[in-house]
């Protein structure tokens, strides 16, 4: 049905609604090193670095959920300096940071922060997980080495579902 294209149909949702749900899933299928959280019920923080493509949809989709008993908090950052350890656990690096991605990855190299992006070549640049659309389905590629450098452990289930980075190049879609 219409104005917002076909999202009205069951099984069809807007891109950033689906991506928001994926951020939450990643939080569930990745283990942070011991000592990352101060207490058993300390909040889990999802950060957005750069222009926020989610808008209110992130809170709408993920708000109220818990990550292993921890409530989820959201923060928006304008520069990587604000997103250093302690400020968040999962950091979505927006496409607006494309020119600075190398510097961002370097700054976070040893932090226990899971980096997620949705921009071509982000995995090669060292972002741990990169979301992309192929044939109108959401897929993701994982840079395992980059994730492990931060001391994170990605579950084998997530690794099995990931697409190999070299396969993630093809965009696909309708003619």
């Amino acid at each position: 049905m219409t104005t917002r294209a076909d999202e009205a149909s069951p099984g069809v949702r807007t891109e950033y609604d689906i991506k928001a749900a994926f951020l939450y899933k990643f939080a569930l299928f990745v283990e942070w090193p011991a000592g990352t959280f101060a207490a058993g019920d300390s909040p889990f923080t999802i950060g957005i670095l750069g222009d926020d493509p989610f808008g209110p949809r992130l809170e709408a989709v993920v708000g109220g959920k818990k990550v292993r008993g921890r409530p989820i908090r959201f923060r928006r950052f304008a520069a990587i300096e604000e997103a250093l350890p302690g400020s968040c656990h999962l950091l979505f690096v927006s496409a607006s940071e494309r020119d600075r991605v190398n510097r961002i990855v370097a700054a976070l190299a040893t932090s226990a922060i899971l980096t997620v992006g949705d921009t071509a070549d982000y995995t090669a640049a060292g972002v741990a997980i990169n979301l992309f659309v192929r044939d109108r389905n959401m897929r993701f590629a994982i840079n395992k080495a980059a994730a492990e450098r931060s001391g994170l452990r990605i579950s084998s289930q997530l690794l099995d579902l990931a697409v190999a980075p070299e396969e993630s190049k093809s965009r696909g879609g309708a003619p």
């Binding site: 104005t3 099984g11 899933k25």
Partner: protein, 680 residues
């Protein structure tokens, strides 16, 4: 396709609304449906990763020829999904398009015609709208037409979604993308069960069967299906214009039958996709159009359309993609016109025969870098046959026989430039060359501004053209009708402003205001010698509003209103067949869990003027409503649906073109269809 090329016929120029009752009933139906809504669809975050990966992302690929969010598209876009086709019981592409904001569909018991934004020339055979199937151009090369009823090349059940792009799009697609582009995207093998069988039955002896196979064998994904349709049609159709003893008291008996066969194959292997489609349709003609004998069972037309398409698509790098397409197209049209009684000496029958075939090639390259997405493309067609003839059947006498061939080609470029994080510029142009008239240059320029979250303001400008077709250029009948090889293309220039806003709670609104100017419209001359000429200019202005509400529990409502005014520049009068107001209302809702759903639609089309030569100046506005009950997996793998069309049995009619003696063409009353689909 059309009965219009009949030799010797030189274009003769010449409702009840149960408004309140319907509104009340529609409201009652909605309230009943809403009251019984059951919990469905869990929140996104509750889905498993596998389920999330199976979801489809809302994006459109027709407006810019690469996938993008609808809010970034340089046009106002409507998408009709497979779910809507099921839940509203659409039987043809034309019926699906009737639900689209600003569209109105008419039917003359031969073909269905789609009007856009108040423009629909009676009998234009949909040549001012471009229809694609998976990107393959469907408009044929004799009349430039696309057949959208049962004569459409696909079974609607095999459609995944229909992207409807409003506005001129010749900058990417060339000729015919005049009022818009309709891209019909077929279901892929992954969307289908290994085998699916469907049977249906409806009023007037309508019955249909379809069987589809899908899967993967040796790395090749395949989809193969075929369907058969037949309908006896109403047994007695009354046309008061023929009220006379010698014309059976105006009753056409058993003369509205229709038969259609469809066949489709799609093979996908790596970067390659091969697809082929075929449709054959025969329609009895009850209207005795083109001065033929009334109530004569010989009156019928057959249309067949087929194509083969080999496409290659590869990502050259993360940022660039190349596509190449080779295609073959065919079209065959035959119609018999009873003009004399059959005797031992003569069949008394005239016959139109039209045969078109073409081969084509297209290459397209898209590259993203920094803030730019650049698209470059080239396309060519070699029309091997563009043959038309008219002959008397027995004794055989060929009165007109034109065998033509031609070629055309076009090159185009487009850049989408992200000027800032909330501003997009999409600029493109295409240059085409035709043997008949030479070159055509068509730009499109759009500025898309996102002033805040989920809001888009689009400023759109574009031009489009429609190349004169070989029927308009070369049709002739000695002494009466002359060819006119000097015809120029028709042109349209459009300015449009679109505002789209998604709001919390699943609410979305779209507003459009537009103005278009048509020049050099091709029309028949009023006086001898008869021929087609570039002789009309027209202007259209309009505004549209659409509201959509998607409730968490699976209730979806859409309502739109279009106000439109299309006028002839010379006379200042409204164009015929152009309703001033269009109202559409659609509701989908679960009734019982995920098992029983309902789809209700109601549509209002306001008064339409008849062509000026008619005694009756206009046909009345009318409301219609359709109601579907759909049950998913009642028994494992089985869907059952029932639809009542024209629920309130409204009497309504459409304006008639010059080839009819009828002042207007009455439509069917209430009809039914039940359908059963089983997935193995």
């Amino acid at each position: 396709m059309s009965t219009r090329t009949r030799h010797g016929t030189v274009c003769r120029r010449r409702a009840r609304i149960r408004f309140r009752q319907m509104l009340v009933s529609a409201c009652a139906a909605i309230m009943t449906a809403s009251a019984s809504i059951a919990e469905t669809a869990p929140d996104l975050a509750d889905l498993s990763i596998q389920e999330l990966m199976a979801l489809k992302v809302a994006e459109v690929s027709t407006p810019s020829r690469f996938p993008q969010k609808p809010a970034d598209a340089p046009a106002s876009v409507t998408v009709i999904t497979a779910e809507e086709i099921k839940l509203f019981g659409y039987r043809t592409l034309a019926e699906a398009l009737q639900s689209v904001r600003g569209f109105h569909v008419t039917y003359d018991r031969s073909y269905a015609y789609v009007g856009v934004r108040g423009f629909s020339r009676p009998s234009d055979y949909n040549s001012r709208i471009l229809v694609l199937v998976d990107g393959h151009r469907l408009n044929e090369n004799i009349f430039g037409s696309v057949l959208m009823g049962r004569e459409f090349v696909l079974d609607v059940d095999m459609i995944d979604r229909i992207e409807v792009v409003r506005g001129p799009t010749s900058s990417l697609y060339g000729s015919g993308a005049f009022f818009g582009v309709v891209n019909v995207i077929t279901k892929r093998s992954a969307d289908l069960a290994p085998m699916e069988a469907s049977v249906e039955a409806g009023s007037f002896g309508a019955r249909k069967a379809r069987v589809a196979f899908a899967g993967k064998a040796g790395g090749v994904e395949y989809v193969l299906w075929g369907s058969y349709f037949a309908s006896e049609g109403p047994q007695r159709l009354h046309f008061p214009e023929f009220d006379a003893p010698e014309t059976n008291g105006g009753i056409a008996e058993d003369l509205d039958g229709e038969w259609a066969d469809n066949l489709y194959l799609r093979l996908a292997w790596g970067d390659w996709t091969l697809s082929a489609a075929y449709v054959w349709r025969k329609k009895d003609i009850p209207t005795a159009s083109w001065d033929t004998f009334f109530n004569d069972p010989r009156n019928h037309a057959v249309d067949a359309r087929w194509y083969g398409d080999l496409a290659w698509r590869r990502a050259l790098s993360p940022a660039s993609e190349a596509r190449v397409r080779f295609s073959f197209d065919g079209y065959l049209y035959t119609a018999d016109y009873p003009i004399e009684p059959e005797t031992a000496d003569t069949a008394g029958l005239g016959r139109d025969e039209t045969h078109g075939s073409a081969i084509g090639a297209e290459a397209l390259w898209t590259r993203r870098w920094a803030a730019h997405t650049l698209t470059l493309g080239a396309e060519t067609h070699r029309h091997l046959r563009q043959d038309q003839s008219y002959s008397l059947v027995r004794p055989r006498d060929v009165l007109f026989d034109s065998r033509r061939d031609s070629a055309d080609y076009g090159v185009y470029a487009q850049d989408q430039y992200s000027i800032g994080s909330n501003l997009l510029l999409n600029a493109g142009a295409r240059w085409d060359h035709y043997e008949s008239f030479g070159g055509a240059f068509n730009p499109r320029l759009s500025l898309i501004f996102h002033p805040w979250q989920s809001g888009a303001l689009k400023l759109l400008y574009g031009t489009a053209y429609r190349a004169p077709n070989v029927y308009e250029l070369f049709y002739e009948t000695p002494g009466e009708w002359l060819p006119n090889p000097k015809l120029k293309p028709e042109r349209i220039e459009t300015h449009e402003t679109v505002f789209e806003q998604a709001m919390p709670g699943g609410l979305a609104v779209a507003l459009c205001v537009y103005r278009f100017h048509l020049s050099d419209l091709i029309a028949q001359a009023d006086e001898m010698p008869f021929m087609f000429q570039n002789r009309g200019n027209a202007t259209g202005v309009g505004a549209e509003i659409e509201l959509e509400w998607r409730h968490r529990r699976g209730v979806q409502t859409r309502a739109s209103y279009a106000r439109q005014r299309a006028e002839d520049d010379e006379t200042g009068s409204r164009l015929p067949n152009s309703p001033k107001n269009l109202l559409k209302f659609n509701l989908m809702a679960p009734v019982w869990r995920d098992r029983l759903h309902t789809g209700v639609e109601a549509q209002y089309t306001s008064l339409m003027l008849n062509p000026v030569e008619r005694e009756t100046p206009s046909v009345d506005g009318y409301w219609t409503a359709n109601w579907t009950l759909f049950s998913r997996a009642l028994v494992k793998g089985m869907d059952v649906s029932a639809t009542v069309y024209n629920l309130f049995d409204t009497r309504y009619a459409f304006p008639s073109a010059g080839e009819f003696l009828q002042e207007k063409i009455e439509q069917d009353g209430r009809t039914l269809r039940v359908k059963l689909t089983y997935r193995f």
